[in-house]
Symmetry: C2
Subunit: 367 residues, 2 copies
């Protein structure tokens, strides 16, 4: 724990000024090759390491990024954390991780406290209101993940619409007509988006989707959700996330209700474990690790950006696709009149965008 070697120690030992030592490292072209080599050699011999905080003070750049997540516990964020950490590290940045405990107040406090100590923020699944986010982002460089706020704020989102439509069509193709949506936190933008998309898909496909919840987006929450579904009288459920889906699935099985024989389950996120739970979960997958990497990239380019130029923010949309495993199957009592019950009610607003040939078709699969 000996005192650390400073630039002055090196300067004295090398017989030059401290500024020369500084330049030997940070602007080598401003110094002659001979002195630079000498200084570097002395620094090496003494074991000199620049002090990051001293370096950060004049420049205001800490080479550190903060990642805020609502709940470190949630496996969904593991991939995000991983991707973000790796990308940050490879760019020479250090990553600070903070858990906001699903609370907007804590989120704001963390930002306040970290400001000055970090160069920017990645806000994953922020629980802040749009206004709060806007004002926050106007004073701190930040990118949001899992949220779209406006043209001026860089963000990384998963194409939930795409995924949710696929999920609904998959279930309809299996003969399901009454679907329940297991809602997550009402403060979650992603939750609202999923539900909105599902409602329009339901209209387009001529089926009914009812919302149950909100539930805590955890395995424990899934148990409660399962019981609520039984009351809602649905043959299939789409869950806000895999945790909820796994929890519900286990609860159904524990109550002697077959999955997917009696009820089908679709999750979201393809978290760790979704492939080896029982039954393996049909889920909406997206490369969430990529989301972490993209978020850091966006933030870094935001930091590099000359703030006098055009303030056009980037937006990364990650594809979402359905992974069909074993938690979904044919509806228990396929309705006799399977051919397009009331397809003509399709809203014009969707008719234009979705010229998708994948409409309800035969459900003669067997298990």
């Amino acid at each position: 724990m000996a005192r650390r070697i400073t630039i002055h120690d090196v300067a004295r030992e090398a017989g030059v000024a401290a500024s020369t030592v500084s330049r030997a490292f940070s602007s080598p072209e401003r110094i002659s090759a001979t002195t630079r080599e000498h200084v570097v050699a002395v620094a090496q011999r003494l074991g000199y390491r620049p002090n990051p905080v001293a370096r950060a003070l004049p420049s205001g750049k800490t080479q550190t990024l903060a990642l805020l997540v609502p709940d470190i516990t949630n496996p969904f964020f593991f991939g995000l954390i991983r991707g973000a950490e790796r990308q940050a590290a490879s760019a020479g940045y250090t990553m600070v991780l903070a858990d906001t405990g699903e609370s907007s107040a804590v989120e704001r406090t963390h930002v306040e406290r970290l400001t000055g100590g970090v160069d920017g923020f990645v806000l994953a699944s922020s629980r802040l209101t749009d206004e709060a986010l806007h004002s926050l982002i106007s004073e701190h460089p930040a990118v949001v993940v899992n949220r779209v706020i406006g043209e001026d704020i860089p963000c990384v989102v998963i194409n939930e619409e795409q995924g949710m439509r696929q999920a609904a069509e998959h279930l309809v193709s299996l003969g399901h007509r009454r679907i329940a949506y297991l809602s997550g936190p009402s403060t979650s933008w992603s939750n609202r988006t999923k539900w909105r998309t599902l409602q329009s898909s339901a209209r387009r496909l001529g089926i009914t989707i009812t919302k149950v919840g909100p539930f805590a987006p955890t395995v424990a929450g899934g148990a409660a959700a399962a019981d609520a579904v039984l009351v809602a009288d649905a043959t299939a459920v789409i869950a806000f996330n895999d945790l909820l889906a796994i929890g519900a699935s286990r609860r159904f099985l524990a109550r002697g209700i077959g999955v997917p024989e009696q009820i089908s389950i679709v999750g979201c996120d393809d978290i760790f474990g979704a492939d080896f739970c029982q039954p393996p979960l049909t889920t909406l997958a997206a490369d969430i690790e990529q989301a972490g990497r993209s978020a850091v990239d966006l933030l870094l380019s935001e930091l590099a950006r000359d703030h006098t130029d055009n303030p056009v923010a980037d937006k990364v949309v990650l594809a979402s696709h359905l992974l069909i495993r074993e938690s979904t199957g044919p509806a228990p009592h396929p309705p006799a009149n399977s051919s397009a019950p009331d397809t003509e009610s399709t809203g014009s607003e969707f008719g234009s965008t979705t010229t998708d040939p994948e409409t309800p078709r035969a459900q003669k699969e067997k298990r």
Copy 2:
């Protein structure tokens, strides 16, 4: 992104010196109540936030801790990260997370780079050699997790011996006589400890335990491990961790080998998913989140310690206990001569310490 309010702005606005503003916050007793209130009010009005890096420079204290893990991907570390982050946050510390990619060189580089920017390190499952760790810890405050090095280095470990003995006894009680140990990284202290304990347990219990591996401690590694086990001709396996156990279990099932009908599997760590994989995994559980909390506590008390006093380092040992689920069952062909084959070969070195009544007993369980 307006310029940040500094202590000087507050001083000017309040009509006092900067030092007075500083004292108003950091040493209120050195200042009259009236001026303090006035200064605080002005600071509040201006939205003043102390700059953490400027504050860290004179004090040398950054209020930041670093957590280094070999692989963020590994769910085992999620609990650790969570526990550490929470404990750090509640003590007003910020946590930096870094992945060493299972490499001792990267680990060392990270420590080098972070030094000065953090007050101390939590090294989880370090891949460094004992010598490297010793020299590293002699110059940086640090605590290690999952490793015991010496009396002078604070550490948090899981009582692997206890757990491994329980696992071995559990399998023996089910009639298993030939057990394979699925080895993890050879640089892992925990891996070596597990194997050593297993060897002595085997001698004591009069069974054979063979080591297969090392394998990558991942689900993918588990598949390779499963195939190796088939060659080793064992009726049960104990895996270095749950990832390996789950991977092996899936591989066995895919190859038509019943788990636990034909082969029993015991994992380690009780990671997320161990309870809902197929079959639910019998595993050695420890409160790893507590390990994270304890590690941070230890580090914090290490930092608070007056370094002139006695250098006695703390050591936290966390209990490990067996969680019996469904991946273990009776050995496929229970040997006829079940009563203590060669118990007298028990090494004296263990005879003294393990006066443990739990020796091989009946295996008449049915499934």
